[in-house]
Amino acid sequence: MNNVETAPKVKKETKNKIRVEFERTPLLERLKAKFVNLYFFQKVAVYIFKFLFLLGISFVILFPFYSKISSSFMSPEDFVDVTVVMIPRHATLSTYRAIIVDNNYWGAFTNTLLLSLACAILQTFICCLIAYGFAKFKFKFNGLLFMLVIFTMVVPHSTLQLSMYMKFRYFDIFGIFNLLGGGVTEAIKVLKEPNLNLLNTFWPLILLSITGLGFKNGLYIFMLRQYFKGVPDELEESAYLDGYGVFKTFMLIILPLSVPMLVTVFMFSFSWQWTDTFYTRAFFSQSGPTLMPSIVKVPRSLDTSYAGENMYVAAIRNTCGILILLPLVILYTFLQRYIIQGIERSGITG
């Protein structure tokens, strides 16, 4: 009984004592006690180390971009001048102008934009569908089919390079015609030949995207599946109770919920298609539409035969690279907020 009564009293007393002690010690002493000790030093040191490390890595990442950008503005004289480092002395836009005019940059830009947008949108949506199916529904062969998805990720592209080329060069597999019906092929107007040549068109990539077999689609399906597994089942159940069907729930509840994740996948697939060389080389030849890889060359109007030729040509190639990457950088600055969010929300667990 006594204890119970005295306990708060003691506490109050000590509290008061502490306050009195606190007020008696001068500010300098207090600061000393707080900041001049090993624990605080250690914390600060670790923080500084972390910050410097991240800063250093950021520098390693950003520096090549800077050096490329600066060299792209240099005029030919700057490459023979040893004293010109990092900052161009005779800044010029002639390299950019020559590439844009001579190498048909806008043509390549439009074609690549169309192709990448089509592929990215299709891949994002289709991968979402497939991943949602794997994550939320128990059906026979679920595990086996998912293993097949992983399998498509594991097989190297080069293994399939030849047979993909052959497939789309002589596109006449059984079933496709039966499935699509004659109307579709008539619309493409290729009935004169026994098989249709899909090379130099967007069809091979679109077909691969529609079926979730495009570039790294296995990875997207894997990521999205893990994400959908983290979405609570109650959400869908309440939607079912409200009379929504499975597809309606998916379109109206699940997709709006996972916008950051969708943007992440979209960004991946858009930029990987944008800078892709493998499929572009395999499915498009010189006579096909101009795409990004074909603008990487020295423009006709620039004279490169002088003392600094090697460096000048390298700088021109870099400038091509900058022009190719610029749209992606702009897109990334707009979308990175969503991507970071997507990372934070995708709680992947075992």
Binding site: V154, M166, T211, T275
Partner: protein, 326 residues
């Protein structure tokens, strides 16, 4: 008698219940099939024939007939024999590529885990750092990487001794081998280890480039660890070091397995891989029948990939810890 009736009633009821729930399951299962239908169709119509053709071609020679069409000639194991014993560089490239892989995979996984932990913690400008760290995975692939590979400009310009993606600069190393050797010489570690560390530091750009997706996976793994666990740890007086080994590492160990496998797949299939480059060169350089050789080579390569992945998965899965979730 009555109990029997009850029993049968119960049985009937449970059977009915089972039937109803089964039909719901069936309906849900059917919906699941609809969702994965695109993949199933694509796999059967496009992918399987492509795979099948690829295997078939590797046993054939292709002759393109003028005026459309092509003819296949059966040559048995000839292509494989040629790749292994007649081709000058294939086996050599394969062995050195595998060796490179053994060195790279742990480095990439550890680096990406390290960076993910740093990016997960509280630090000034965290959002900016995150945005910067995902630049390489988006921008330095495919075409851009190809331009970089053939780039000599950086060698002239990088006065500060930075390795910046040109990758072939002996002059511009961050660490010189001599410095590290003098550092390690008293520690009685092997010369190979010194070389390994030096290579890693000088390849830092390459490693950063290749660890973007892994970082993403680790970050989301770290996000899913409940903060309550860390809180209780710090109340119990555990240091950051102990917390890392006892909490963070076991909790992200499934991610380590995933990332190790992904890294292997990624570096096996990336076009900057030496073996892939070699196979691509064979493919690009050859006309008609030579292209089949590249097919045979990549199938052999693929079998080695599968073996490597199986080995790593078996080794790592012994250490993986799965949290029981209610």
């Amino acid at each position: 008698m009555s109990t029997k009736v009850k029993n049968s009633d119960l049985l009937g009821a449970s059977a009915k219940k089972k039937k109803r729930s089964a039909s719901l399951d069936v309906r849900k299962a059917r919906a699941g099939w609809w969702f994965v239908l695109p993949f199933v169709i694509g796999f059967i119509i496009l992918y399987l024939p492509i795979i099948f053709d690829s295997i078939k071609y590797s046993f054939h020679e292709i002759r393109i007939i003028r005026g459309g069409g092509y003819r296949l000639e059966w040559v048995g194991w000839n292509n494989y024999y040629n790749a292994l014993f007649k081709d000058p560089g294939f086996v050599q490239t394969l062995v050195s590529g595998l060796k490179q892989l053994v060195l790279d995979v742990p480095a990439i996984v550890i680096f990406s885990l390290f960076v993910a932990i740093l990016l997960n913690g509280k630090i000034a400008g965290r959002a900016a750092f995150r945005a910067i760290f995902f630049i390489p995975v988006l921008l330095t692939t495919g075409l851009a990487a190809e331009i970089d590979q053939q780039n000599i400009l950086q060698q002239y310009q990088s006065a500060g001794g930075m390795d910046d993606g040109s990758g072939n600069s002996s002059v511009t190393e961050i660490v010189s081998v001599m410095d590290v050797q003098s550092l390690f010489s008293n520690m009685m570690v092997g010369k190979e280890l010194v070389q390994y560390v030096v290579d890693l530091v000088n390849n830092i750009f390459n490693i950063i480039n290749r660890s973007g997706v892994q970082m993403l996976i680790f970050l989301s793994g770290l996000q899913s660890i409940s903060p309550a666990i860390y809180e209780s740890c710090s109340i119990d007086g555990a240091s950051g070091w102990e917390t890392f080994w006892k909490i963070t590492l076991p909790m992200v160990s499934p991610m380590i397995l995933v990332n190790a496998i992904y890294t292997i797949i990624d570096s096996f299939t990336s076009s900057s891989n030496k073996v892939m480059e070699y196979i691509n060169n064979v493919y690009q350089g050859a006309t008609g029948d030579g292209k089949v050789l590249s097919s045979a080579m990549s199938w052999m390569y693929f079998l080695i990939v599968i073996a490597a992945i199986g080995l790593v998965a078996a080794l790592l899965s012994a250490f993986v810890f799965y949290q029981r979730r209610d």
